[in-house]
């Protein structure tokens, strides 16, 4: 018996629409088996993971808060992936953005700086993230170095840079030697949308980003070029599109968005700069981008879903003592199924029972 792929005459639009749902369904089945292996009741575990967080206002807000960085980063990554440029260092760009923005917050601490501080921090963060993302992009277009490896290496460097700053020059002198900056001043903090609630302005910014990129991709020449360069590089060359310039552009945009997400996380939910500000947002965002089919609206939905798994994972750890790593396993399995189901758009699977003559030898 053998599994054989057969190319479809044209891509199946029905499957393109439902493949993420098939992937989620398969993931849930796999997770149930994993829960059973861990000795937990699969039904109640899935309930704690995916239903309970939707039933109270605090968790719902928390989902939106967690989805904010995921969506912003994934939107940027989707541009890169559409242009066939592999930025996998968004985690580093997120951290550098957080550092660049925090610099201003730390420098203006205790002064009577006005409300310009927060917008300026966001601008700095976006520039910082973009510049950091341009390093692998320039190495790629100028020297041909694999952007996959260089962008990933820079994640470790960014992590160490942040660690150095909060343990060294930026450490809160009144912080009992904890590696953290002092709590940001109110003018340097992202305001909450509802007084005392968890929702903050970052969620609105994420929605604006989604809309802006949807317009960029759907209505502008640049968006068209990005899609063509990735989907049909030869056609793009004939069309005279500059693919190097597009690599730089998409890396810069995705770095800026990751950096912006970084400062929003630090000046919003966290409130100060410290190590461990990201539970791997930059990597989870890769899954969000693919689950959302590299489409802005799809990414918004996928981001909310992945945020749900973070919250559900925390609740499952508290309520059922399910290890937090299960969330990462879940995310990895989900990405596998998403990619496998995407294959269905272009190919038809066929089980061949007799051994096919071609694949086994001369013909």
């Amino acid at each position: 018996m053998q599994l054989v792929l057969e190319k479809r005459a044209e891509r199946s639009n029905t499957i393109a629409l439902i493949s993420p749902l098939i992937a989620i369904g398969l993931t849930l089945v796999t997770m149930s088996i994993l829960f059973a292996i861990l000795g937990k009741n699969p039904i109640s575990a899935l309930g704690v993971y995916f239903i309970d967080p939707l039933t109270d206002s605090y968790s719902l807000q928390e989902i939106a808060v967690k989805a904010t960085p995921l969506v912003m980063i994934a939107i940027g990554l989707s541009l890169c992936y559409l242009a066939n440029a592999w930025n996998i260092g968004a985690e580093g760009q997120f951290l550098v953005g957080a550092v660049a923005g925090s610099w201003l917050a730390v420098k203006t601490q205790g002064t009577d700086a006005g409300p310009w501080v927060l917008p300026a921090m966001m601008l700095l963060a976006a520039i910082g993230g973009a510049l950091y993302a341009l390093i692998p992009a320039i190495c790629k277009v100028r020297f041909g170095a694999s952007e996959i490896l260089t962008s990933l290496m820079l994640v470790y460097v960014a992590d160490l840079l942040l660690d150095y700053l909060v343990r060294g020059p930026w450490r809160d002198p009144k912080g009992f030697n904890f590696p953290t900056t002092a709590e940001f001043d109110p003018v340097a903090a992202v305001p909450a949308l509802i007084e005392g609630g968890r929702l903050h302005l970052g969620g609105v910014i994420a929605l604006v980003v989604v809309a802006a990129v949807a317009v960029l991709l759907g209505k502008t020449i640049k968006g068209f070029e990005i899609r063509v360069v990735g989907a049909a590089p030869r056609a793009a060359r004939f069309g005279g599109f500059n693919s190097n310039q597009l690599i730089l552009l998409t890396f810069a945009i995705s770095g800026a968005l990751a950096g912006l997400a970084g400062i929003i996380e630090v000046a919003g939910p966290v409130g100060h700069l410290q190590p461990g500000i990201s539970p791997g947002y930059g990597f989870t965002a890769i899954i969000v981008a693919f689950l959302g089919r590299l489409n802005p609206v799809g990414i918004l939905i996928a981001g909310l879903f992945l945020a749900l798994t973070f919250i559900g994972g925390e609740q499952a750890q508290i309520a059922m003592k399910i290890p937090l790593d299960v969330t990462k396993v879940f995310q990895g399995i989900l990405l596998f199924y998403v990619l496998a189901c995407d294959s269905l758009i272009l190919y038809r699977f066929k089980l061949v029972f007799a051994s096919p003559k071609v694949s086994s030898g001369a013909h």
Binding site: L3, V4, L5, E6, K7, W86, I88, I135, P136, C139, F143, G144, A145, S146, I148, L149, T150, L152, M153, L154, Y156, V157, L160, L161, D163, Y164, R167, G168, F283, I286, I287, F290, P323, L324, D325, V326, T327, K328, V329, F330, Q331, G332, I333, L335, F336, L339, A340, D342, S343, L346, Y347, F349, P356, V358, S359, S360, G361, A362, H363
Partner: protein
């Protein structure tokens, strides 16, 4: 034992996991498959290797567990990229994300436990030779194994018919297919070999480097191994040089931190990663005339029936 001798021993130990993983990935890439999941296969190999050794009390069983875990991980990758023709870059990333989660899950019950490290070779007389004795005749078995593996891979790729076919599949899968070779089967074995090596490389860390398991203990070594394959221009011999250079950078920065040279320790810790970026740039730049990468590297192949 002199300081120089100690440093060289430490460099060899730090280089070995890089060399093991990079050797496996080199074979995988020579067959035309880019498996970016080395880090994921390594970390699962580390967790399973430690678990196997801790439960059985045997380093060899631990190493075997690491290898099996690496192969199983690589089979997921093979099923996806060869069986279902999924993009190799995305699948490799998924494998790493899954591996980090799985290793945490598997390894959580072993955190805080300790095992005794793999014994070092001791040949009376030879090992006692001053300066070179311990370096040449006093390593753990993995160090010798990794060098034998590189030699074996070189022999396989350049001196055997099977190696020639594997390279053909990596350079032009359509031609290899037309000649009647099963490209997918060749690639599957190459991917599995890469998985076995990555699993063993991961297992090396808790079995011979530090006697315990920490989540995330591979710390990017899988990615550095990928960079090493580029550095080596896909040639096995150069892997040894590259791996030992990187091992040297790792160990020297540790010693420099110890000497307190007044440079922030974080900058020193960042050196291996920065070195990787710089090396990638220099190597890629030197190669503007034409790439030495396998021509079909990273491309999907679906046999036309």
């Amino acid at each position: 034992m002199g300081l120089i001798e100690a440093i060289i021993l430490a460099v060899l130990a730090a280089s070995t996991p890089l060399l093991l993983a990079a050797t496996g990935e080199l074979v995988t890439e020579r067959s035309g498959v880019l498996n970016l999941g080395v880090e994921g296969m390594m970390i699962v190999g580390a967790a399973c290797g430690f678990g196997g050794a801790w439960l059985s009390g045997s380093v060899i069983i631990g190493a075997l567990c690491g290898i099996v875990a690496g192969v199983l991980m690589s089979l997921i990758f093979a099923l996806m990229t060869l069986g279902l023709a999924v993009n190799q870059v995305a699948t490799g990333l998924a494998l790493t994300i899954l591996g980090i989660g799985l290793s945490g899950l598997i390894g959580s019950r072993f955190v805080g436990e300790k095992i005794s490290l793999a014994p070092h070779l001791y040949i009376p007389g030879l090992t006692d030779i001053p300066l070179i004795g311990r370096i040449l005749f006093g390593e753990d078995a993995f160090v010798y194994l990794s060098l034998a593996l590189v030699a074996g891979v070189w022999f396989f790729l350049y001196k055997t018919r099977a190696g020639l076919i594997l390279r053909a599949a990596g350079d032009n899968h359509a031609s290899a297919h037309a000649l009647g070779y099963s490209v997918l089967r060749i690639r599957m074995f190459a991917v599995m070999f890469g998985g076995a090596c990555a699993g063993l490389a991961g297992a090396y860390l808790p079995l011979a480097y530090t006697p315990f398991f920490i989540p995330g203990m591979t710390a990017g070594r899988g990615w550095i191994a990928l960079a090493l394959v580029v550095f080596a221009s896909w040639l096995p011999g150069r892997l040894v040089i590259g791996a030992y250079l990187f091992g040297a950078v790792t160990i020297l920065q540790l010693h420099a931190q110890g000497w307190g040279v007044g440079i922030p320790s974080q900058l020193m810790s960042a050196l291996p990663y920065l070195a990787t970026v710089i090396v990638l740039v220099l190597i890629s730049r030197a190669r503007t005339g034409g790439s030495t990468a396998p021509a079909a590297l990273g491309t999907v192949f679906v046999p036309d029936r």
